[in-house]
């Protein structure tokens, strides 16, 4: 088996400054196999892919193809030696403004293999050859179309056909289905099956366990920059999830007294998160912390943003404390005392150059203004109050939030909402990029808030985090609720099993 391996990676390491992302990855990819690569956020998957596709260089370790060591120092080299990568973002792979034919032949054009002046008509036969690799039955008039006009699935097929044009020695697919509908996914899978039959190895990266279960021959799990598990079919998903999420962290969990809320503050009826997923009902109770756990693509952010009115659900209705609740936008949600700490701190919460006081007061300018004129004294008091309440390490409330550490930034972003009068407080990945001390402080505060009668919802992809903070645990898989129980009635293993159940 080992001797047959087409691609062998030995002791691949990669670090960014002091941060070691890959700590010696050993991986063999066999011909005519679909090898699935699984890993949580930050496990090092994308770094590994970037090394294979020549985006990153200067790493330690050896990559051998058919026994020959290779130096991959640029994306061009990677392609020349037959490592073809289809990256996750489809729109990065095509050039709008050019025709489908030109996009299919882009590599040849970029490398001057085609005359400098060539009519679109003269390109068509060559383009059709490339499209034939996937049996794409595209007419001449379709090939002349601007890529901008075609659907996302056809773009994906175009990129795939281009990657296959020169029979690659390895095809790397990074989350290829994230933008596709079910029928398009089926079509992609039949293509991958054909590739396997013709002997081309595929490295398939995905968060969707169901897809890996249908498609893959082998499964490797990456965690903290190392391969932590390898399996051949049939897969033991529970073991895979354990490899992926790790055993319980060494740090002792803080124990807390589990609280059970009795009144429903927010009632979701028939809420549907994706067009492909089934609707469900969910009650959020005040006085307890509801932990929603789900991997990327499980719909946890969609759930949070839907409740907050930042996006709308595919379907369903909500009732807030007995009254109909359908926020047209975040400002209406906030008026109804429903608050959200969004997932991406830098993009969705922070304002470049803004001080702690200004960042904190933005959602509640009414509170520091009389007749719309701001009272800077009140704003200062608000900032100082936040710094003290959350023990934010800062020079004062005039310090810019950008210059704080990740944990202190998050304290400001979470803490500012507590100046209001929350009925429902949603926190999406509140512990991401946050040190353990700040994480403690934030989760303790969160529990305090729930204790004061607020319906708190913490959404995360980390089991330890959810166990640390939540009274009630909800497992979300593919946009559907797979488990809803109290923390004391379940355990880590059961959660892993529920997360790993393949539809």
């Amino acid at each position: 088996m080992t001797s047959q391996a087409t691609i062998v990676m030995r002791d691949i390491t990669m670090s960014f400054g002091a941060n070691m992302v890959l700590r010696g990855v050993n991986l063999e990819i066999n011909p005519a196999h679909v090898t699935a690569l699984l890993g949580a956020n930050g496990a090092g998957k994308s770094t590994l892919i970037k090394i294979l596709s020549g985006v990153y260089t200067g790493n330690g370790g050896v990559i051998e193809i058919d026994g020959e060591p290779q130096t991959i120092d640029s994306p061009m080299t990677a392609r020349r030696i037959g490592l073809q990568t289809v990256h996750q973002r489809i729109d990065d792979g095509v050039i709008p403004g050019l025709s489908i034919a030109e996009n299919l032949l882009f590599e040849q054009i970029a490398q001057n293999e085609i005359g400098r002046v060539a009519s679109l008509r003269s390109l068509l036969p060559k383009a059709r050859e490339v499209a034939d690799a996937l049996h794409l039955d595209w007419s001449d008039s379709y090939l002349r179309k601007d890529v901008f006009e075609i659907g996302v699935a056809d773009k994906q097929l175009l990129i795939l056909a281009r990657a296959l044009a020169r029979r690659p020695r390895l095809l790397i697919l990074d989350e290829p289905t994230s933008a596709l509908s079910q029928s398009e996914v089926d079509r992609l899978f039949s293509v991958i099956n054909e590739l396997r039959a013709s002997g081309i190895p595929v490295l398939y990266v995905s968060h969707r366990l169901g897809e890996i279960d249908t498609l893959a021959d082998r499964l490797v799990v990456l965690r903290d920059g190392q391969i932590r598990g390898e399996q051949d079919r049939p897969f033991d998903w529970t073991a895979a999830l354990k490899d992926m999420l790790g055993e319980q962290t060494v740090v002792e969990l803080e124990s807390f007294e589990e609280r059970h809320g009795t009144t429903t503050v927010l009632d979701l009826k028939g809420v549907q998160l994706f067009t492909r997923s089934a609707p469900f009902d969910l009650e959020i109770r005040s006085g307890e912390v509801t932990g929603v756990i789900g991997l990327l693509g499980s719909g946890k952010s969609e759930l949070a943003r839907g409740i907050f009115g930042a996006d709308s659900f595919v379907g369903g209705t909500m009732t807030l404390a007995g009254a109909k609740y359908a926020p047209a936008g975040p400002s209406e949600a906030i008026r109804n005392d429903v608050y959200l700490v969004p997932e991406d701190r830098a993009q969705e919460s922070m304002l470049p150059g803004w001080s702690i006081a200004r960042t904190a007061s933005l959602p509640f300018l009414k509170m520091i203004a009389s007749r719309s004129v701001l009272n800077f004294g009140k704003e200062h008091a608000l900032g100082i109050d936040l710094i003290n309440e959350f023990s934010v390490v800062a020079d004062g409330d005039e310090q810019e939030v950008d210059s704080l550490s990740g944990g202190n930034q998050q304290k400001v972003i979470v803490g500012r909402w507590l100046h209001g009068t929350p009925r429902v407080l949603l926190l999406d990945e509140p512990f991401r990029g946050v040190d353990i001390g700040a994480r403690r402080d934030i989760s303790r505060k969160t529990r305090e808030v729930a204790g004061s009668g607020v319906g708190v919802v913490v959404l995360t992809s980390d089991i330890d985090e959810v166990l640390e903070v939540a009274d009630r645990i909800i497992v979300l898989v593919d946009g559907e609720v797979r488990m809803d129980t109290y923390s004391s009635q379940t355990n880590r293993d059961q959660i892993v099993v529920r997360m790993s159940e393949v539809a």
Binding site: F308, A310, G329, P330, S331, A333, I334, R335, L340, P342, Q347, E348, S349, M350, L351, P352, G353, W354, R358, L362, P363, L365, K366, A369, S372, V373, L374
Partner: protein, 347 residues
């Protein structure tokens, strides 16, 4: 020993950085004062208070349009239609008084409404139709420039002109309307008073009210503002409406100054106003658009132009001086400032 050296080195470095920060913060004001002192010391004409006030008076239109642009820069955009709106105001005020024989007060109301309407149209393009600010206002600029020519058949409007049907225009620029530009309060020309009032209003609105705060938030990060409950589309649009009104106020002063509906009026205003607002972001070292910065920027360009003109610098080369001032300002905020400067996002 080596410790001491290292300490000295860090001390030196820190001093250099502090000097740099001081330069960014006060450099521009110092340059302005030095220029003023230099021109005053070397040219007697420049010292004359009348020169000073006429200089302020002539920069008033640019300053007001620049204040309007400041609002749109605060929300992260830029209004390219201010010059066209000022031109529209000139023609509209002339039409109201000369064609329709109305009082100056009516002309003022018509012009302000028109400015607000153009602003509303910009807001519609940007907020509802989601066209990037620069491109939307570029389109508006062309439409407004062309539209104003239609009712006057491409002719400048003046008292006593012959109309299309052969009759003589019934009205004229009323004397009270002409006073807008010509009146003085004590020694101070009325337009200068208007600039002062608008600057204070703009400063107060932007820094002391929650509306201004929300506009700055939108300019800093629209998505974060939305998720903090700011009604982004409303305030983004409001900035353009205010800008339209300011541009039309500038147009009123211009119209009163020219005393006829000159169709070419306002054509050079856009670039000057943008330059003034851009200079304004760096004048006080704030690195963001602000009211006093814009007013000082207008003053600075006024000093440079007036001083150079008195020194015999040819009038046709004035744009060179403006360009140099603008580039120096940009060097202060981009090259020397350690703060990240945010001007205009094109999309």
């Amino acid at each position: 020993m080596s410790d001491q050296k290292a300490q000295a080195a860090t001390g030196g470095r820190e001093m250099a950085l502090r000097f740099q920060d001081g330069l960014v913060k006060y450099g521009f004001i110092v340059v302005t004062i030095l220029l003023f002192v230099y021109f005053s010391a070397t040219e007697e004409t420049f010292r004359n208070p009348n020169t000073l006030f006429s200089m302020l008076k002539f920069t008033s239109v640019v300053a007001i349009a620049g204040l309007g642009i400041t609002f749109t820069m605060v929300v992260g955009g830029l209004d390219l239609s201010v010059g066209a709106v000022a031109g529209l105001s000139v023609t509209l005020s002339a039409m109201t008084m000369v064609f329709y024989n109305q009082q100056g007060g009516v002309a003022i109301v018509v012009v302000l409404l028109a400015g607000a309407l153009v602003g509303l149209f910009n807001a519609f393009l940007i907020v509802i139709l989601k066209i990037p600010d620069l491109l939307a206002t570029l389109g508006t600029m062309f439409i407004v420039m062309g539209l104003k020519l239609v009712p006057v058949s491409g002719q400048s409007v003046s008292s006593g002109m012959t109309l299309r049907d052969g009759s003589i225009a019934p009205g004229k620029f009323t004397s009270d309307f002409l006073l807008i530009d010509r009146a003085n309060v004590g020694p101070v020309p009325f337009p200068v008073i208007v600039v002062l009032i608008l600057t204070i209003l703009t400063w107060f609105f932007l820094t002391r009210t929650k509306w201004g705060r929300m506009m700055y938030a939108i300019g800093a990060n629209p998505e974060a503002s939305r998720l903090a409950g700011v009604r982004v589309r409303f305030y983004h649009g409001l900035a353009y409406v205010i800008c339209g009104v300011f541009a039309s106020i500038g147009g009123l002063i211009l119209s009163s100054r020219i005393g006829q509906g000159d169709i070419s009026a306002g054509s050079s205003l856009l670039l000057d106003a943008v330059a003034v607002a851009l200079v304004g972001t760096s004048v006080l070292g704030l690195g963001r658009p602000n009211a006093w910065g814009t007013a000082l920027g207008a003053l600075l360009i006024g000093i440079v132009i007036t001083g150079l003109t008195i020194k015999g610098f040819p009038y046709y080369a004035q744009d060179i001086a403006k360009g140099v001032v603008l580039l120096v300002a940009l060097i202060f905020s981009f090259t020397l400032s350690r703060r990240k400067t945010r001007y205009v996002s094109a999309t």
